[in-house]
């Protein structure tokens, strides 16, 4: 007997695919939560009842259950088995009520301008940006693109390029997780900001018991939860007064000073071309020597957060393609190369097209722009384009920033060697610096981290290219790991080297604490756990 609830709509035999077509299609049943009551309280009760009905069915039948999120991940972290719980229609965001917060936190927050917000975890980041901006607030940081759900973004360690804040999961105060048909939990740090009133309110609104768990071990696990600790129903996140990002972008030739910035112990202060003390630091790198060679090899991009008060010239809506930080818009032209089976090895036309594409997007001269976060990190234009038969791919290597120069050069050298061997890389490279996190499985595990993102077409040669890069990094003595939502590289060996056994065992122990039975862990397990040795 399938789950029954008035606010539940079952869609049988639906197709699930990620939007990049990186995963194979899965046919499954999607249980859509459709709240329709006339009051807010009534709709929250509907959401809670519908979620519990689906979770109860999963426990009764011992069937895996996934939440589709934004289908943004290229890895199999969100890949369903047979059942999906679709929370897309649960769209609420609002300030946290004062009784939910401890007096100590309230005092600090008032002093610093921080305001915690309660966010339905199934809302996408672009909607969060929009709604917060309308309220004069902003996320402290976010990723380079914005189609992920909030729960999905933190599940995978989505990070952006913030040198002072860290990644999105580092701005989370608490997570509200449904862990069984009879229990939800509100997980925060020991001595955290929330009071018992918060858990009591959530219990009342959603009609399910809610335990407040103030525990550092659990909180460090839950913030990068890999979609495997239960259903993330709500997230409480710290927001700040609305700011805009003032961006400086400077192209550099192959022989210019960009490598010195990479090799600096403090890359944020080594970029003499831009304003000092940036909040964000990023590079766009042509994977090949440009053709013509007088074209830029690299674009240095730094950004500062400045208080927004409707200044003229600040872009406020996510429609200006010149602002895009994501490399994905670079890909559609390369698809035609692949589809038309143009001979790739050492093809000067490919170098020429890649050079022209990057110049077209990022410019041939220095530029400066200003935009709200939601406009700066807007959606890539490729949405709606069917990449088939070519598929999108993105691999993100994270290194200790202290090894950034060696790591980036190792990757560039490997790409050059692979091209000579006939394995041409059809894509671009983004390099971003991010402050560290104490979440157990956060990719930004070092004090300052260097993320090297390779966004490309999924050619038949690509697996060999990434295998070669992994081998080259290991050969050069450069520990690394990968973004959980992108090209999978976090094997047990890689995970042990990057996070260490203590972090891995602590995450697993927290999972066993939240989901005590093997059946519960199996129901909520992402397929990525097995490959990473975390099941």
């Amino acid at each position: 007997m399938p789950p029954q609830h008035p606010a539940l709509k079952a869609h049988l035999n639906e197709e699930w695919r990620d939007i990049h077509f990186a995963n194979d299609e899965v046919r499954c049943t999607r249980y859509e939560v459709v709240p329709s009551a006339g009051t807010v309280e009534g709709q929250l009760a509907e959401v809670g009842g519908a979620v519990l009905a689906v979770v109860r069915d999963a426990f009764d039948t011992n069937q895996p259950l996934r939440v589709p999120g934004g289908r943004w991940s290229l890895s199999n972290i969100g890949r369903p088995h047979s059942s999906l719980l679709d929370l897309s229609n649960y769209r609420r965001i609002g300030p946290v009520a004062s009784p939910w917060l401890t007096p100590a936190y309230r005092a600090t927050a008032q002093h610093t301008g921080v305001d915690p917000m309660l966010i339905a975890a199934g809302i996408t980041i672009n909607v969060v940006h929009r709604e917060l901006a309308a309220a004069g607030r902003a996320l402290k940081t976010s990723g380079a693109s914005d189609g992920q759900t909030f729960a999905g973004a933190i599940a995978t360690g989505t990070h952006g390029a913030d040198l002072k804040v860290g990644a999105l999961h580092d701005t989370v105060l608490a997570l509200h997780l449904v862990v069984s048909p009879t229990r939800s939990v509100l997980v925060q740090a020991a001595g955290g900001a929330l009071t018992q009133a918060a858990a009591d309110s959530l219990a009342g609104w959603f009609g399910m018991p809610c335990d407040l768990l103030s525990d550092n071990q659990l909180f460090r696990a839950a913030r990068v939860h890999l979609g495997s600790l239960g259903i993330v129903l709500n997230v409480i996140v710290e927001t700040v007064p609305l700011y805009y990002l003032s961006r400086e972008r400077t192209p550099q030739l192959e022989g210019a000073s960009w490598r010195a910035v990479l090799s600096s112990r403090d890359p944020s202060k080594a970029n003499a071309l831009h304003s000092t003390d940036p909040d964000y630091l990023q590079f766009i790198v042509n994977p090949y020597l440009p053709l013509p060679e007088t074209d830029p090899r690299v674009w240095l991009i730094s950004m500062r957060k400045l208080a927004f008060s409707a200044q003229p010239g600040v872009v406020t809506t996510p429609t200006d393609v010149s602002l895009k930080s994501d490399l994905a818009d670079f890909l559609p032209t390369l698809v035609s190369f692949y589809e038309h089976n143009i001979e790739l090895p050492s093809n000067p036309v490919l170098r020429n097209v890649t050079t022209a594409q990057l110049r077209g997007i990022y410019g041939a001269s220095a530029s400066a722009e200003s935009a709200l976060p939601g406009a700066m990190f807007g959606p890539p234009d490729f949405l709606g384009i069917d990449f088939r038969p070519a598929r999108g791919a993105s691999a993100e290597y994270v290194l200790d920033a202290a090894q950034a120069r060696l790591g980036v050069q190792t990757i560039l050298d490997t790409l050059a060697a692979q091209a000579v061997a006939g394995h041409q890389y059809l894509g671009g490279i983004g390099v971003r610096f991010v402050k560290g996190s104490d979440a157990w499985l956060a990719p930004n595990a070092k004090p300052i981290n260097c993320f090297v993102e390779l966004q490309s077409i999924h050619t038949t040669e690509l697996p060999a290219i990434h295998t070669a890069i992994g081998n080259a990094l290991r050969g050069a003595g450069i520990p690394h790991a990968g973004h959980w939502g992108q090209w999978f590289m976090n094997t047990p060996e890689v995970a042990a080297q990057w996070w260490g056994q203590t972090a891995i065992e602590s995450w697993r122990a927290a999972r066993a604490d939240l989901l005590p039975s093997a059946a519960a862990r199996s129901i909520f397990a992402s397929p990525i756990l097995s490959a990473a040795g975390l099941a």
């Binding site: 029954q4 609830h5 008035p6 709509k9 869609h11 859509e32 459709v34 709240p35 807010v40 309280e41 709709q43 929250l44 809670g48 009842g49 519908a50 519990l52 009905a53 897309s88 229609n89 769209r91 609420r92 965001i93 609002g94 009520a97 009784p99 939910w100 309660l118 809302i123 909607v127 709604e131 009133a197 918060a198 009591d200 309110s201 219990a203 009342g204 609104w205 009609g207 399910m208 018991p209 709606g384 069917d386």
Partner: protein, 119 residues
């Protein structure tokens, strides 16, 4: 947030995409009563990758009919129309709408009652 009106607007884009030698496709939304006084047609904008929509143009004949959106609880948000080089429609894709974003109750509840076993 896309309103139902905007969604219907988007649907007309599909119609405007079709050249004279191609096909005209009627896209019908379920549970929708058309307003005969509000009809828009959208043509590619000269300014860029967008469309200019104007009133008072109607299609009276069509080659194919698509009853779209039965699966959508909150109407349709986007429609994509793919044509081949003959101008014939080869694929129509639509994306369901979501409800508006709302807030939470202003005064938190302080008590709860256990949910019933069968809702």
């Amino acid at each position: 947030m896309d309103t139902p009106l905007k969604s219907a607007h988007a649907l007309l884009i599909g119609l405007a995409l079709l050249p004279g030698c191609g096909q005209v496709v009627a896209i019908r939304l379920p549970h929708a009563d058309p307003n005969a006084n509000a009809s828009y047609a959208c043509e590619p904008s000269s300014a860029g990758a967008s469309f200019d929509c104007k009133s008072h143009r109607e299609f009276h004949q069509y080659d194919r009919v698509l009853d779209a959106g039965n699966e959508c609880s909150f109407g349709i948000a986007h429609v994509y129309v793919q044509t081949n080089w003959h101008g014939n429609v080869t694929l129509i894709q639509y994306v369901c709408n979501t409800p508006p974003v709302g807030g939470f109750p202003a005064v938190p509840s302080t008590s709860w009652t256990p949910p019933s076993k069968s809702p």
